[in-house]
């Protein structure tokens, strides 16, 4: 025993390794996950007073195993009716690299049978080692509601009945895409909420980056896993300039670039360069490349818009997402003028319907084209359609400023 306090970071790093070991020993992912959660809580309460055990991982595995045994003893009557032999079959213990367990857990938690709303909290708890209370706070729902969401996700996994192992060759790629998508969503949840009263949620970006680092460590040769980590770092680098002290959003064009985090940009660029060198570009690498061009530009005007436009073309081919086309319209306007951008938007109405983002982009392009009254109407239309509070504040203010003449 040492006198050091139990750092939350250590517990979170150990969480997936402890869970991997307990699942390997006893099977029963859902119960093992509960037991490891209890062990983590026990560690968080006792280690600060008693000191961190020398072998912290073994401590967690031992406590979690005991909790599982206790639980089964309590449930014995119920268990007797079930197939004991199957539930307690010991999986032969082979030494497994820690990265593999983390990756297997992530593939499980992001199983295609789970909706993102189920996969996200399960991943944060089982792999990220966050407590239900913390996840509930981040997503602004009561703890009991979040606990139910997680146990429903686990029940669904039980139905899928997958072995605790890496997927067979050939299936891994598709499954990894689900993992990357879930991490991308977690990052966005946090990034969207940075600053102000949403501070608890902004921790989610840091959590997503940590998990993306784990995936990258397990699969250093996968260019999309690397691309996603690079994208997160290159985007997160702009966080300090993204909101005013009152929480108001600052659009990219108006951000103080001196406040961007150069260290994150450098790391992101290095990762991205390595990924692109493999010659297998995917959507995260392309998005990271776009973020990199913004990060490297001295100003909004000096941005390499022609290159960004080419990348949006590529991204549109890769994803077919009409939101990408919106961004391409912005880039088109920067390269060929607002008229060309507006022409591109005209073809989008059918696919995006009355989406607020379409109206907002059109408003910006009309403003650039000098059509002030048209821009005001579109900014107001976008403000009425958005369900994002900060975005509405921004759009309303934008319309008001245009209405009162040049600033």
């Amino acid at each position: 025993m040492t006198g050091r306090p139990a750092p939350a970071d250590l517990l979170r790093d150990l969480a997936p390794r402890a869970l991997g070991a307990v699942v390997r020993r006893y099977g029963h992912f859902a119960d093992a996950e509960d037991a490891v959660q209890e062990a983590l809580l026990a560690a968080a309460t006792t280690w600060p007073a008693d000191g961190t055990p020398d072998n912290a991982l073994a401590w967690l595995i031992r406590v979690a195993s005991r909790k599982m045994a206790d639980q089964y003893r309590r449930d014995e009557a119920r268990r007797r009716r079930e197939d004991l032999a199957a539930s307690w079959s010991l999986i032969p213990h082979e030494p497994v690299p820690a990265h593999d367990d983390t990756l297997i857990l992530m593939l499980m938690c992001c199983h295609p049978s789970l909706s993102p709303g189920a996969a996200i909290p399960l991943t944060l708890r089982a792999v990220g080692g966050l407590a239900t209370r913390e996840i509930a706070a981040a997503f602004l729902v009561p703890e009991a509601t979040m606990a139910q969401r997680i146990s429903r996700a686990k029940a669904k996994l039980k139905e899928a009945d997958e072995p605790f192992a890496l997927p067979p060759p050939g299936e891994g790629g598709e499954r990894l895409r689900s993992v990357l998508h879930v991490l991308y969503l977690i990052f966005n949840e946090g990034y969207a909420a940075s600053g102000g009263p949403d501070l608890a949620r902004s921790d989610l970006s840091g959590e997503a980056i940590r998990l993306a680092r784990d995936v990258h460590a397990a699969l250093p040769q996968d260019p999309e896993a690397t691309g996603l980590l690079a994208l997160m770092l290159l985007t997160d680098a702009r966080r300090p300039a993204r909101t005013r002290p009152g929480g108001e959003l600052v659009p990219l064009a108006e951000q103080d670039r001196a406040r961007w985090d150069r260290r994150l940009i450098t790391e992101g660029l290095t990762l991205l360069t390595g990924a692109l060198r493999q010659g297998r570009p995917g959507e995260y690498q392309v998005q990271a490349a776009i973020a990199a061009l913004h990060d490297q530009a001295a100003s909004h005007a000096q941005t390499d818009w022609a290159q960004i436009l080419a990348l949006y073309d590529r991204l549109e081919q890769l994803t077919g997402n009409p939101m990408v086309t919106l961004n391409r319209a912005v880039a088109t306007a920067m390269v060929h003028g607002p008229g060309a951008g507006l022409a591109l938007l005209d073809g989008l109405g059918g696919r995006l319907g009355d989406h607020h983002r379409l109206r907002a982009v059109r408003a910006h392009l009309l403003e650039q084209a000098g059509d002030t009254s048209g821009a005001i109407a579109e900014f107001q239309a976008a403000a009425a359609r958005t369900t994002n509070l900060r975005e509405r504040d921004y759009l309303v203010a934008k319309a008001a400023r245009l209405a009162t003449g040049p600033a």
Binding site: L140, V141, P142, R152, Y191, E391
Partner: protein, 133 residues
């Protein structure tokens, strides 16, 4: 996605008599329905909050200019206009699911077990913006 489902007292569109005129067993059935629905929403991981509001007899309306003493009046009362009776906030995967829950609430059992058919207002709760802006 987060939605607030609002229900008013005696709103237009329902021909149900006021709850004070229901048989006791109809009132019990109505309350039980609400509890069962809340439990179900909790178990599905969708319930954020569910509150009933105290009756209009206890309601006050406050108007102030921030300088002189505020003007406090009784009411509003349900005769004057639609008045909020309670709300639920749900966090659901789709807008369709919010409408489905609203339909359940609207069909709550009333007098003689007939559905109240109370109009339920479904409003999206503002969230933080997307990151791409």
């Amino acid at each position: 996605m987060r939605y607030m489902l609002l229900q008013n007292y005696g709103a237009a569109g329902t021909d149900s008599p006021p709850i004070s005129e229901w048989a006791p067993e109809d009132i019990s059935a109505h309350i039980e329905f609400q509890q069962v629905l809340n439990t179900e929403l909790l178990e599905r991981g969708e319930l954020v909050d569910a509150q009933g509001l105290a009756g209009p007899e206890q309601a006050k309306t406050v108007i102030s200019d921030g300088i002189s003493a505020p003007v406090i009046t009784d009411g509003p009362f349900p005769e004057s206009k639609e008045l909020l009776a309670g709300y639920r906030i749900v966090d659901v995967e789709s807008a369709e699911r919010a409408l489905e829950i609203a339909a359940r609430i609207s069909a709550a059992p009333g007098a003689n077990g007939a559905p109240v058919r109370q109009p339920i207002e479904v409003r999206a709760v503002m969230s933080a913006p997307d990151p791409e802006m």
